[in-house]
């Protein structure tokens, strides 16, 4: 059975959507001639030409502003803000222009743009190249925030994001680029819907991006300890599909949310709060595993302690449930 690499899934989605729709354009820093710093977009510039795929100056604010202006005048731009940490730079255009236009214009036009970025820690890139900006935008009405956990989802979600008529922030965890997984079975994956990726009965573990793989690995360990974990990939921070999580919790009655990010202000707390407000009677227990309350450190020993990996997730479940490790 053939396998698809995550970075190729991204590239293929872009390639196919640029070919499919003449109004799609893709630009960013070192995305065209160099094919992207994570080698996600090689060959697209050569295949589709300067009009469709081009490199830009290091001007994140102008890039987002240009994408916004182009998006309300007939184009469908996909831009790459190289690292999620750089998203503070184009914030004004994304928040005050793109996110607000559909509503403030009284629906004269929407803003069909996609902002892709590499996010996440574990690569020893240090504090300014390791953040996940999903939560920076989760509270802004008018902007969608999604991120895949697998190659198949990467392709399907990115295609949906490009076809969506609204601004979409697309999170690509940098420690997923080399992941291999099954080819997609559907062409698109809907935005705004979570997915149960492992069925179980004893506890619901919700995570996102790289955290989903870590939670699945933890679930394997826990199975050996007699704990049957259901794993949910939240996939979308805005809109937030709390209903799928509620459905899972109705079965397991225990909710653990694993987030690569700080506890206060994280999407985990937001989701837990909404689930508690809507379905408190289903919950016997609800808690969060988050990163330490510091910026991401560089040294491997520090960064590994900062990040919750499969062992930490499994240990957190065993401790909470009062279950001993099997071995």
């Amino acid at each position: 059975m053939s396998e698809l690499e995550f970075r190729k899934a991204i590239r293929d989605a872009l390639d196919e959507e640029i070919a499919r729709d003449p109004s799609v354009v893709f630009f960013g820093e070192d995305v065209a001639a160099a094919g992207g710093v994570f080698m996600t977009t090689p060959g697209l510039h050569e295949k589709h030409g300067q009009d469709r795929v081009f490199d830009t100056p290091i001007s994140e604010l102008a890039m987002a502003g240009a994408a916004f202006g182009a998006a309300v005048t007939g184009l469908r731009p996909v831009i790459e803000i190289m690292f999620g940490d750089f998203m503070a730079l184009p914030m004004d255009s994304l928040v005050n222009q793109s996110a607000k236009y559909w509503y403030v214009s009284n629906e004269q036009a929407s803003v069909p743009l996609v902002v892709r970025s590499a996010v996440g820690a574990g690569g020893r890139f240090g504090a300014m190249h390791s953040q996940i900006h999903g939560t920076w935008f989760q509270s802004i009405p008018g902007i969608k925030v999604v991120g895949p956990s697998s190659p198949a989802d990467a392709k399907g979600l990115l295609k949906s994001a490009i076809r969506d008529d609204n601004p979409v922030i697309f999170l690509e965890h940098k420690r997923l680029y080399s992941m291999k997984g099954p080819e997609p079975t559907e062409e698109t994956v809907p935005l705004g819907k979570a997915a149960v990726v492992r069925e179980g009965a004893d506890v619901t573990i919700v995570s996102a991006l790289r955290g989903v793989k870590d939670s699945l690995d933890a679930a394997e360990q826990l199975a050996g300890d007699g704990v049957d974990a259901e794993v949910v990939d939240i996939r979308s921070l805005r809109p937030l599909d709390h209903e799928t999580v509620l459905g899972s919790v109705a079965k397991t009655n225990r909710l653990l949310i694993v987030e690569e990010g700080a506890r206060v202000g994280g999407w985990a707390g937001n989701l837990l709060g909404i689930v508690a407000a809507e379905g408190l009677e289903e919950l016997d227990d609800a808690w969060i595993v988050a990163t330490e309350d510091t910026p991401a450190p560089y040294s491997p020993t520090l960064e590994d302690a900062w990040l919750p990996g499969p062992a930490e997730i499994a240990a957190a479940v065993r401790e909470r449930l009062g279950v001993a490790a099997a071995s």
Binding site: P57, A62, G65, D92, Q97, Y103, Q108
Partner: protein, 332 residues
């Protein structure tokens, strides 16, 4: 070109687009803006216009002169002081007034208010409450315009020339040869602060040179001068020869916003600029070109009647009912 602007106006008056009758129309549009702003001020003081508003009275020659060089399907982006930008591009005065008054018949259904007017039907990509936002919006519109055979114009103030948007977008536009005209309405004050005290180098037009870009400094109160510079810049853009920065020097008659009395401006400076009211300058030149006082009076009366009807219509309109028009976060 040799000669004063007045001499050139005489020389050119037989050319297409340059007749006194056509300038009378443009004068009418300037007066439309002036009377609109006066009405908004009156309604604001009566509590009918909410929040805050920023009036462009005194600056009319700039948007009217620039838009006179554009086609209807060209794009403009304006500022929070943007009623003139909207009216010059063709926005309906009654729909604009209704928007200021928060009525459901407003150009944005009452959702936008004074600072964020959007009228895509007339090519007004938007007016932006964030200083410099218009520069980015027009840069993006220019990317589309480049593929559509159109031109985009960014209106912004002297304050915006120090914003990140200005520097990034001028560089970007020149790198990509965008069909874009950057129009700086330099009214010498960024809110309450004199432009001279916060603008290194003391001049704005000259900043284009650092990007290898064409520029011109224009008497922003001379309608003929603004139009001439705009035609030049728009022609360059449409011909694929890239962007231009126009610094149009002008002055706002009112304070920055609300009922700001503008005490930070020296009285003799204010008087000097009021004596160069662009409406008065335009009237004087029209008379000089052979129109009569009657021609002007007739046009004034038509505009006044149009404004009266617009304001009356806006005041009579209903407020939006939250239950009936809740609004959606996303387009389905």
């Amino acid at each position: 070109m040799a000669g004063t602007q007045t001499e050139r106006a005489h020389e050119m008056q037989d050319r297409p687009g340059e007749s006194p009758a056509e300038y009378l129309d443009r004068y009418g549009r300037m007066r439309l803006i002036r009377r609109f702003e006066e009405e908004i001020q009156r309604l604001f003081l009566k509590g009918e216009v909410h929040g805050t508003t920023h009036l462009s009275a005194g600056q009319e020659a700039v948007p009217v002169g620039v838009c006179s060089a554009l086609q209807p399907d060209d794009y403009v982006a304006g500022t929070y002081r943007g009623h003139g930008h909207a009216l010059a591009k063709g926005t309906d005065p009654e729909a604009l007034a209704a928007e200021m008054l928060g009525r459901v018949t407003g150009i944005c259904g009452g959702r936008a208010g004074s600072m964020n007017v959007i009228d895509l039907e007339h090519g007004l990509v938007g007016c932006f409450g964030i200083v410099g936002g218009s520069i980015a919006a027009a840069t993006g519109a220019a990317i589309s315009a480049q593929r559509q055979g159109r031109v985009a114009v960014a209106f912004f103030g002297d304050g915006a020339s120090n914003q990140g948007y200005f520097h990034e977008c001028l560089n970007w536009a020149q790198v990509f040869d965008l069909p874009l005209v950057f129009v700086c309405e330099n009214n010498f004050y960024g809110e309450f602060t004199p432009m001279a005290s916060v603008t290194a180098g003391g001049e704005i037009g000259i900043r284009a040179a650092s990007f290898g870009m064409q520029s011109q400094v224009v008497d922003g109160n001379d309608l003929w001068a603004v139009r001439e510079a705009a035609l030049d810049a728009v022609g360059r853009a449409r011909g694929g020869d890239g962007p231009t920065l126009l610094e149009c020097q002008t002055y706002r008659h009112y304070g920055h916003s609300k009922s700001d009395p503008g005490k930070y401006r020296p009285p003799e400076e204010v008087d000097r600029w009021l004596a160069r009211d662009p409406l008065d300058l335009t009237r004087a030149r029209l008379l000089d070109l052979g129109l009569s006082e009657d021609d002007l009076a007739k046009r004034d009366a038509e505009i006044d009647a149009q404004i009266d009807r617009a304001v009356e219509g806006a005041l009579a309109a209903a407020y939006p009912d939250p239950a009936q028009t809740p609004g959606s976060e996303f387009k389905e």
